[in-house]
Amino acid sequence: MAENLSVKHLLGIKHLTLDDIQLIFKTADHFKEVINRPIKKIPSLRDITIVNLFFENSTRTRISFELAERRLSADIINFSASQSSVSKGETLIDTVKNILAMKVDMVVMRHPNPGAAVFLSKHINASIVNAGDGAHEHPTQALLDAYTIREKYGDVKGKKIAIIGDVLHSRVALSNIFCLNKLGAEVTVCGPATLIPQYIQELGVKVNHNLKETLNWCDVAMLLRIQLERQGVNFIPSLREYAMTFGVNLDTLNKIERPITIMHPGPINRGVELSSDAADSKHSLILTQVENGVAIRMAIIYLLAGNITISNFS
C-alpha cells in the first residue's frame, strides 16, 4: 500500500483513489487506538499551523476537526464568519491569503457554496481540507461513515447501504455515494421524490421511495437531517408528514426481518427522521461515528501534513 496520498488536498471523495481511502483507514486505525489511551496526544505535527475557516455554522464538525488537530499537537486558529459578512467585504481568496501570509500550513474550510474548496485550491498553495462545501462534498464525513461500516462489518464491499432523506441538498449523501461506490458497496437512496435529484441514478445508485422496502433491503440505513424549508421553498408539506412516511423509529426497526444498523451524520431532529428510541437503540452507531470522526480527521491531517513536510524540504 502507498504511504502517501495521491492528492495534496482533500477536496472531495471524487478526487481520491481506492488506495488513498485504504491508507486513510489504516492510519485512522492507529489514531483510534491513540485517542483511547490515557494520554491521547501525540507530538506529530508540532510545527504545523492549521486554520479552521468556517463560513457556515457548524458545531460538531468544527469541534471534531479541532480535537483532531489538538491531538496531533498542531497549532490552530479558528475563524468563523457568516457568508453575508464576508460577501460584503473581503473575497474568499483575500481572506485566505491574509491568513496564509501569517505562515499557516493548512486550511480546513466549511463553505456554503459548492466547489469553494476546489476554487480555493487553484489560487493558494496551502493544503486544503474540505469540511463541507454547499451541496457538493463533505469528504471527511463520508470517510468516517465508511470507516464505521468497515469497523462493524469488517468490510464495506458488498454491503447494502441506504441513504434516506434530503439527498437533493446533501453533501453528505453525495460524498457517501462516491465513497461507498469506490469501496464496492451497493447504494440505494430513499426519500420523498422532491428531495431526490432527478439524475442521481447516473451516479450508480438505485432509487426507492418506499421506506419499508428500503429498510428491508439494506444492512445500514444512513439517515439525513431534514429541514422543512430550503431557499424559501418547502419541498415537503410538513415535518409531521415526513415523520409519518420516512421517519424511522424502534417499532419500524423491530418489524424488519433482519437486524440493520442506523447511522446519522448529526445533528438529529429527534422525532422527525429518527425517533429517540431508535437513535438510542442497539441498532444505532451514531456515537461511534462521532468517535471515529476524530480518528479519521487525525489521519487525513496527518497524511496531508506529511506531504507538506516533504515538499518543504525537497
Binding site: 481568496i93 459548492p114 476554487f119 432527478q198
Partner: protein, 416 residues
C-alpha cells in the same frame, strides 16, 4: 481606405463571384475592381495571404456592451476593438446597461458614441422599463431614434399578459421582439444544466425544460397574435425540435444559438471555473449535436457571440457568487468554425454570422460587387492557432479559451 486583396476566395452566396478566387481592389472605401489579376499600384497597400477568404462583414446579434454604467468592464470603444478583432463590422447591443436602454436618450447615447466607426452599433431597446417585466417602454420613440429591435436581454417576461401586450404593440409598430426563453420558476437558483454533472458537482441545475417550456409558450403566443419573434439563444435539442415544427407550420419565428453552446458541454462545470457559468447553460453532447443539425437544416438562423464582459471581481470568485457570461467577440468565429467546420460549409457559417442576422434585424446587407461600398471580413477557415491573452481586445478577460487550439481565424475587417 485603399487596399488590394490578392487571391481572395469570395464567400457570398448573393454574389456572382461566390466561391471564386479573385483580386479585389478597394479605393476610398469602395470596391473598384474584382478580377482574376489586378496590377499593384503605387500607394495602395497589398494584402496577400495563403488561403485568404473574404465575405461581407459579420454581424453579431447579441453583444453586451457595458456602456453606459459598467465602463470598467467594457465601453463602446473597447467593444469596437473586440468586434474588429473578431471580424465583425456590425453588432447589436443588449439593453442591459445602467441605465437600461429603455428610452430615446439611451438609444441616442449609444448611437452618437458609435458614429462613423469601422463597426456599426445597433442598440436593442428594452421591452419593459428597467427590464422589470411590468411596464412597456416607449418603443415607438426608441425605434424612431434608431433602436433596431426590442428585448429584455436575458430577463424573461414572466407574466403572459405582459408578453401579449408587448407582442401586440411590437406588431403595431412593425418591429422585432427578441425573447430569451427561460422559466426561472422551475429553477430560481439554477446556474448550470441540470443533469449528471450538476448532480455530481452540487451546483444548482436548471432543467432543459425551463427553456423548452418558454420556447413552446412564446411560439404559441407568436402564432396566435401573428407577430414575428426571434429567440435570442436556444440550447436544447427539444427547443430545436419545437422551433423546427413551428417553422414547418409557417409560424414567423427565428432563432439563435450562442457560439459556446456549440463547442462546450456541461462536463466543464465540474472544474468549478466560473468562466463556464453562462446563460443558457452549457448542455449535453447530444444537445450540441441537435443544435448543429438545427443549424444545418435552417431551424436555427443565427449564431451569436453573446459577448459578456465581466471584471475579475465578478468572475474570480466562488461559482455561486460569479456573474454569468464569457467574452465572445474575439473567439466567436474560431469557436463556431472549430465546432462546425466539418459539418457546415463555410458559406453556411457565413450565412449564420453575417447574412441572417442582418436579414432578421432589417439591416441592409452589404454586397461584394464592383462599385459597392467595402464592408468586408477577411478570414482563414483552416488556419490553426492557439488563443492567448494577447488576442483579447476587450477590457475584460473572462474566457475559458485561453490556451485553446482553434481552427479558423478572423484576420481583419474593411469598413469605412
Amino acid at each position: 481606405m485603399n487596399m488590394l486583396l490578392k487571391s481572395a476566395k469570395i464567400i457570398d452566396s448573393s454574389s456572382p463571384f461566390n466561391q471564386k478566387v479573385k483580386d479585389i481592389l478597394i479605393k476610398d472605401g469602395q470596391i473598384v475592381t474584382i478580377a482574376d489579376k489586378i496590377k499593384e499600384e503605387k500607394d495602395i497597400a497589398v494584402f496577400t495571404r495563403e488561403n485568404l477568404h473574404v465575405s461581407i462583414g459579420w454581424c453579431d446579434m447579441h453583444t453586451n456592451l457595458r456602456d453606459p454604467g459598467f465602463e470598467h468592464k467594457e465601453n463602446i470603444e473597447s467593444g469596437i476593438l473586440a468586434a474588429i478583432a473578431g471580424g465583425y463590422t456590425a453588432i447589436a447591443c443588449s439593453p442591459n446597461t445602467l441605465p437600461v436602454i429603455h428610452s430615446k436618450s439611451e438609444v441616442e447615447y449609444v448611437i452618437n458614441k458609435a458614429k462613423n466607426r469601422a463597426v456599426g452599433i445597433f442598440p436593442i431597446g428594452a421591452i419593459t422599463k428597467n427590464l422589470e417585466g411590468k411596464d412597456l417602454t416607449e418603443m415607438h420613440d426608441m425605434l424612431q431614434a434608431g433602436a433596431i429591435a426590442f428585448s429584455d436581454g436575458k430577463k424573461t417576461i414572466k407574466n403572459t399578459g405582459m408578453i401579449k401586450i408587448a407582442m401586440q404593440y411590437a406588431k403595431g409598430i412593425n418591429t422585432l421582439l427578441i425573447i430569451h426563453p427561460e422559466d426561472k420558476d422551475l429553477a430560481p437558483s439554477g446556474m448550470v444544466h441540470e443533469g449528471v454533472h450538476s448532480t455530481r458537482s452540487g451546483l444548482s441545475g436548471s432543467p432543459s425544460l425551463a427553456e423548452e417550456i418558454m420556447v413552446s409558450k412564446n411560439i404559441e403566443l407568436a402564432a396566435h397574435y401573428g407577430v414575428k419573434i426571434h429567440f435570442l439563444a436556444v440550447s436544447t435539442s427539444k427547443s430545436v425540435e419545437l422551433i423546427r415544427a413551428a417553422k414547418a407550420k409557417g409560424i414567423q419565428i427565428t432563432a439563435g444559438v450562442n457560439a459556446y453552446n456549440l463547442l462546450l458541454d456541461d462536463s466543464n462545470i465540474e472544474t468549478f471555473d466560473s468562466n463556464y457559468k453562462v446563460n443558457p447553460p452549457l448542455r449535453t453532447k447530444s444537445d450540441i449535436e441537435a443544435l448543429i443539425n438545427g443549424l444545418k437544416d435552417g431551424t436555427i438562423d443565427v449564431i451569436n457571440s453573446d459577448h459578456s464582459p465581466e471584471d475579475e471581481e465578478s468572475k474570480i470568485v466562488e461559482f455561486d457568487q460569479a456573474r454569468f457570461g464569457m467574452i465572445g467577440l474575439e473567439t466567436a468565429f474560431a469557436v463556431i468554425n472549430t465546432s462546425l467546420n466539418s459539418k457546415l460549409s463555410t458559406e453556411q457559417i457565413i450565412e449564420k454570422i453575417a447574412i441572417n442576422p442582418r436579414k432578421i434585424l432589417g439591416i441592409p446587407s452589404p454586397t461584394i460587387a464592383e462599385k459597392s461600398k467595402a464592408n468586408l471580413t477577411l478570414f482563414d477557415p483552416s488556419f490553426k492557432w492557439t488563443f492567448g491573452l494577447a488576442d483579447i481586445k476587450s477590457k475584460s478577460k473572462n474566457t475559458p479559451f485561453i490556451g485553446t487550439d482553434f481552427i479558423g481565424k478572423a484576420l481583419g475587417v474593411i469598413n469605412s
